[in-house]
Symmetry: C2
Subunit: 332 residues, 2 copies
DNA sequence: GTGAAAGCGCTAACAC
DNA sequence: GTGTTAGCGCTTTCAC
């Protein structure tokens, strides 16, 4: 409501003196400062962020865009990014894009309109429109996925988790436990993550000279009901199976349900490993062995790299993180 | 990067004309408009939001503050609020306060600093400091909980869900199914929600002239392990039980686990009802009968009421929503 | 119909 | 050390 000028008028000091007193920059007599603080308090003064931003070209604000607030995969990543950004006196604004390109472009336009100092984009759609917009805007952006078409002068980097390696961990673990017939439940061929994971699976098979059988690679659409139905259909075919790798913890729930209905015990009759290591992995019965995709440090690294870019370090530097396997009851 | 003045310089028109052309307000020759649009595009012009806000005192931005992004209870509420706000051309900025008063005050200071047009506060701490700040700021705020100390000229309203009624639904359902000994797993006495729910439970008992037995009201801390341990301890006491009301879906998971370990079948040996009707209720085995706390419409109503306040309708109007029971396998 | 100019609130440069 | 001033980019009022 009130501005620096109002305080100046009330106290008789110049606006500059008032500004100096309030910002603690430059010298100001203690007595003067006291008077000004008191006036500010009686006038209920608050600095106006827009004026400050207009002047400084700095917002101290970061936009964190995720495709879906309900997906537990993102939680710890959000926390990791928030921690780093808040420690550096940035505000974190979380926005859900629902995988709609229109909303993604809207977020990018906020970056262009100086609404924020930078943007972190997670599971972003790498279509020409989006990438073109990022390049045109030319302001700090970090992606949370691997992007292969990157150019040297692009205004963005990416931080990503190695899905190939993660899948090798999962498959090796089951083979080490003695599994002979391992089913891979994953996403569709179009999905980059699924392709990478399938590659990891095939590598693990190859290293042990095990045969590649397409019957053991099934699309489960990354959710409980998709996995439930896919696994039911798989069991109907009567193919032997003593190990399952689920696309994520939710998909593992579908497998568990199907097993229960078919009288199969986990891990007695078959061992189960899933991905993401979310809270779901902790509360199921049995608890789930799950590949931790280091979401928290993913968030931290995204934030750190973005801050570097904002500080002017614009040389491309992409970061790869290595997942780890967390063993629990489902694969004992 | 470029401003209206840059376009004016390039095209030779006055800045006013350029502004008119770009905003589509007031008349502008089609030919002129075309030239200006082209210049804007070659200069890669973007309006500056801060300048606009500074001038208009309007941000078209709403802050949605929740205590914890990981809690599935809030998901559908966030979606409901976002839908309404986006339909009305507002941007939704989600912020997590982690139940820390310092962060809550920080969010309120953003409201004061004209960073946004209004704030929705969910599960807000009603301490004097916070309520005092809201009153001092005097700008639009909506609370997502019932607040009893409200004054007539307060700058906020609340929208809340009737927990007493919700608990009556849950208890009546179990009694209707023939349960005789129903255990209530809830939160601590200090928690307003827990107190209201306990009241609903006692009312349901009273209506059927059933005795109040404190042994059947147990604190489970609203999470899986808390409920697991509390229910284990309860079973050890050997008290008869054929129905359980869990504080939320996560707590129900703890009960399910304990039942499995004790060889109790759900719903065969005991029926189970929980609260919140989140995705967790859908993916467990058995699926959970759960009281839907109408999170989506809660979000919608919060947003609608806030928009009313922003439009100048500042008369206090609080809203109460009635939950519904969703029946699933756990209480069949 | 078009243009000049003031001002939103803040900050930094430069006088004094 | 303190004060004056210009300007960030936009919008609105008021002349012409």
């Amino acid at each position: 409501m009130s501005s620096i000028y109002d305080i100046a008028k009330l106290t008789g000091f110049s606006s500059t003196t008032v500004a100096r007193a309030l910002s603690n920059k430059g010298y100001c007599k203690p007595k003067t400062k006291e008077i000004i603080y008191e006036a500010a308090s009686t006038l209920n003064y608050t600095p106006n962020l827009s004026a400050k931003t207009l002047r400084n070209n700095r917002t101290q604000r970061i936009l964190l865009c995720i495709p879906d607030i309900c997906n537990p995969f993102y939680f710890r990543m959000i926390q990791g990014a928030s921690k780093v950004l808040e420690e550096n006196d940035y505000y974190v604004m979380l926005c859900s894009t629902e995988k709609e390109i229109a909303k993604e472009l809207k977020m990018l336009s906020l970056l262009q309109q100086k609404y924020c100092d930078g943007v972190i984009l997670i599971s972003f759609n790498f279509c020409e429109e989006n990438i073109g917009a990022i390049r045109r805007i030319g302001r700090p952006v970090i992606l949370g996925n691997r992007y292969l078409g990157q150019r040297e002068d692009d205004p963005f980097d990416y931080v990503y988790v190695d899905h190939i390696y993660g899948m090798e961990l999962a498959a090796d673990h089951l083979f080490d436990k003695g599994c002979k017939n391992v089913l891979l439940l994953t996403g569709s061929r179009e999905d980059q993550t699924s392709r990478e994971r399938t590659e990891g699976f095939l590598r693990a098979l190859g290293r042990r000279s095990l045969p590649e059988d397409p019957a053991y690679i099934v699309d489960c659409r990354y959710n409980t009901s998709g996995a439930y139905e896919a696994f039911n259909r798989f069991l109907e075919r009567g193919i032997p199976v003593d190990g399952v790798i689920a696309a994520n913890d939710l998909a593992a729930y579908g497998v568990l349900r199907s097993c229960r209905e078919h009288g199969l015990s986990v891990p007695g009759d078959l061992r189960l490993v899933s991905f993401d290591n979310t809270d779901y992995a902790l509360v199921s019965s049995p608890t789930l062995t799950s590949v931790d995709m280091c979401q928290y440090s993913l968030g931290e690294q995204l934030a750190l790299r973005l801050l570097e870019r904002i500080e002017g370090n614009t040389k491309i530097r992409n970061i790869t993180l290595k997942p780890t396997l967390i063993e629990r009851e489902s694969s004992e």
